[in-house]
Amino acid sequence: MTGPREIPRLGELEAEVMRQLWRRTAPATVREVADELPRERPLAYTTVMTVLDNLHRKGWLRRELDGRAYRYEPAIAEEEYSAELMRQALGPTTDQVAAFTHFLQRMSPDEVEALLQAYRQLAREAERPELGPKA
């Protein structure tokens, strides 16, 4: 059912782990990730291990064997994922369904130029006192 443009979704815990790994500057082990998770939800080591394994399976993470433990790091840069998300919001949607209401639709450079010209002219005219509201 997933189309080519559908952004994969993560569960809440997976999202938290992903955000943490993006914050990090070096690959981390399961233990390191588990320790960094917020204290108000103490989780079993095996739970965190499962989450990291799932993320790796889904392609979100890369891992390297370091001694006897894996070290995980993001396979997709945060910037790249973020850009893809914006492309989904801005680009032509699947089936032409308008899911997002933008303040300003995308315009071609010619359209922008025409708009700026019209704006300059109107702004000048608006300052003239005899031109009140159009009847």
């Binding site: 973020s82 914006m86 209401t101 300003l104 995308r106 922008v112 109107l122 031109l131």
Partner: protein, 327 residues
């Protein structure tokens, strides 16, 4: 008697069909880009919706009306009354009834299916997007919006994917706007959410997709998309002033030149900007009353047809009772 039972329902059905034809072609031409439209966008939206609804109701009623002669036959047989002299043959009425049910049914199914599909597809995309936002967006409580770290300028709203409405704005957009202009943009988006405009545009899109040959729905879709923007512009201007809203339009347009170009959507920016910089006088109360009356009067023909169908409807009840083996 013959006229009442057989010919009148058919005449009413024919009149309704003619009315629907008028609605689909002539009336939209008068409404399309009429000068008063930008002075009362909400009223114009109401008119487009009234016309669309009236078209659907008229066609469904016409179809149902076509079944009445056959029902009359059945009722007469059931009541053991003689069939009057000079009435139309049974086979003829049965064919008409079949066609009428087909018409009424297909209109309802097509409209219902298309609108539902439109809304469901949009909702799915919004839900998926919201999950992605949860991952990379930062909520800015003072702005009541989600900020995304991206150079491409964008400001949009996500209606209701999981009962939490979101307004999204990129850092690229924030950099292009003054604080007042940014507030105007957020107020504009909030107006979309408060007014549930995604339902208005979604239904209009769905009907246009369901009935592609009917100019009424195609024009309604384009006009409603533009008019909801104007309604939101008014809301933003009411709070932060028209210059701020117009300035936001221009600055965001300018900023989008630097970002890589993507497919252009429907653009009514010129009209929006002109309306903001040279605000047209709002409609007077009498003018509004006329407009509202016009919207309500769109439903008059089908309403009259329905009332004219009272006698045959009574017959319908009799036949229905027999079918259900009651009495």
């Amino acid at each position: 008697m013959v006229f009442d039972l057989f010919y009148r329902p058919m005449i009413i059905a024919a009149l309704l069909l003619g009315y629907a034809g008028l609605l689909s072609l002539i009336v939209p031409m008068a409404l399309y880009r009429a000068p008063w439209v930008v002075r009362a966008p909400m009223l114009a939206i109401g008119l487009w919706r009234a016309l669309s609804g009236s078209w659907l109701v008229s066609l469904v009623l016409a179809g149902l009306g076509m079944t009445v002669p056959w029902l009359q036959y059945e009722a007469l047989v059931d009541l053991r009354r003689p069939v009057p002299e000079g009435s139309v043959g049974l086979l003829c009425t049965a064919v008409l009834a079949f066609a009428g049910l087909g018409l009424a049914g297909s209109i309802m199914v097509r409209a219902g299916y298309a609108v539902r599909r439109e809304l469901v597809l949009a909702w799915r995309q919004q839900r998926s997007h919201a999950a992605g936002l949860a991952l990379i967006g930062r909520t800015a409580p003072d702005l009541e919006a989600v900020v995304v770290q991206q150079d491409v300028p964008a400001a949009y709203c996500l209606p209701n994917p999981d009962r939490r409405r979101r307004i999204v704005v990129t850092t690229g957009a924030m950099q292009a706007l003054s604080p007042n202009q940014l507030q105007a943009v957020l107020a504009h988006e909030r107006a979309h959410l408060d007014g549930r405009h995604h339902l208005l545009t979604g239904i209009a899109d769905g009907l246009a997709r369901a009935f592609p040959g009917v100019p009424l729905f195609d024009q309604a879709r384009g006009q409603i998309a533009m008019l909801v923007e104007m309604v939101a512009d008014d809301a933003a201007s009411g709070l932060f002033g028209r210059p701020a809203t117009a300035g936001a339009l221009v600055n965001l347009a300018r900023a989008s030149l630097n970002a890589p170009g993507l497919a252009a959507g429907e653009v009514a920016v010129r009209q929006r900007m002109e309306r903001l910089l040279m605000p047209p006088a709002p409609l007077t109360m009498p003018q509004r009353a006329v407009g509202t009356a016009a919207a309500l009067s769109a439903f008059m023909p089908p309403g009259v047809a329905l009332s004219g169908a009272c006698v045959p409807l009574a017959m319908l009840v009799v036949v229905g009772a027999r079918l259900l083996q009651v009495g």
